[in-house]
């Protein structure tokens, strides 16, 4: 599933990485605990999280995550967005909760990272 399709089904605002939305994603990991993301890394996976600090992007970098969806209307600060832009990680934000995001993406064929 392409990131632009994920943006549409989760009704996301694109915070950075509009040029990266053609990227295909088939796996996602959802957690506010960054060690949980690092415990099941999957290259090019999507991260779904409510954690908006800079460690979300630093974790994404270590785990080769291609994009982050911030849930529950949470938004990262400018420094976090800047780092993501520099490192070419797409950041999206949705008002939906984590459970709904996971359910919608699962219905569209996205698998969980194990």
């Amino acid at each position: 599933m392409r990131l632009d399709a994920i943006r549409d089904v989760l009704q996301c605002e694109v915070l950075t990485g509009a040029d990266l939305l053609g990227t295909d994603v088939d796996t996602a990991v959802a957690s506010d605990a960054m060690s949980a993301v690092l415990a099941a890394p999957h290259p090019q996976a999507l991260m779904i999280t409510g954690l908006t600090n800079i460690h979300s992007v630093r974790t994404a970098l270590i785990a080769y995550i291609s994009a982050i969806v911030y849930v529950r209307g949470a938004r990262p600060d400018e420094a976090t967005i800047r780092l993501a832009r520099e490192k070419k990680i797409a950041l999206l934000a949705t008002a939906l909760g984590m459970f709904d995001c996971c359910g919608i993406l699962h219905r569209h064929g996205i698998k969980g990272a194990t």
């Binding site: 605990a33 690092l38 290259p43 270590i62 080769y64």
Partner: protein, 145 residues
């Protein structure tokens, strides 16, 4: 016989959440420049990042040493801090003494040390209460070697 090719040391300060993760970013950037296998970089990155976060959360300061050899990559973290009273317990996934503030930063869920061990081919954890903790992890460059 192992031949050391590159050694770099980094200082990491306790409670420095703002810069936490920069050492692991630097280490992985070095490995990417050297065109090391991405799977290996991922494992070294997880080990270094988790170890670095442990220092930031629990220790006063630490030296993180990264050693690239012809057949393996080693990460050694020696901290000055409270030490770990019960290593067996600390290694149990989910066990944590982290504060709510640490969890709000996205860490302290009791997965750090298990993640380091899982990504290591060799792993040593030594600790002295009141003095500090030493974590040693090495990852073979040729997983079939």
């Amino acid at each position: 016989m192992t031949e050391e090719l590159l050694r770099r040391s980094f200082e990491v300060r306790g409670q420095d959440f703002e810069n936490a993760g920069e050492t692991s970013a630097e280490v992985t950037a070095i490995l990417k420049d050297l065109e090391i296998d991405p799977d290996i970089i991922l494992r070294v990155g997880v080990v270094t990042f988790e170890a670095e976060m442990n220092v930031v959360m629990y220790a006063e300061k630490a030296t993180v040493t990264f050693i690239l050899a012809d057949d393996e990559i080693a990460v050694e973290v020696i901290d000055q801090g409270p030490g770990i009273p019960n290593i067996e317990l600390a290694m149990q996934p989910g066990y944590s003494t982290a504060s709510d503030e640490m969890r709000e930063m996205g860490f302290g869920y009791g997965l750090g040390l298990p993640n380091i061990k899982k990504n290591s081919d060799a792993f040593v954890l030594e600790s002295q209460v009141g003095k500090g903790t030493k974590v040693y992890s090495s990852i073979r460059l040729d997983p079939h070697g």
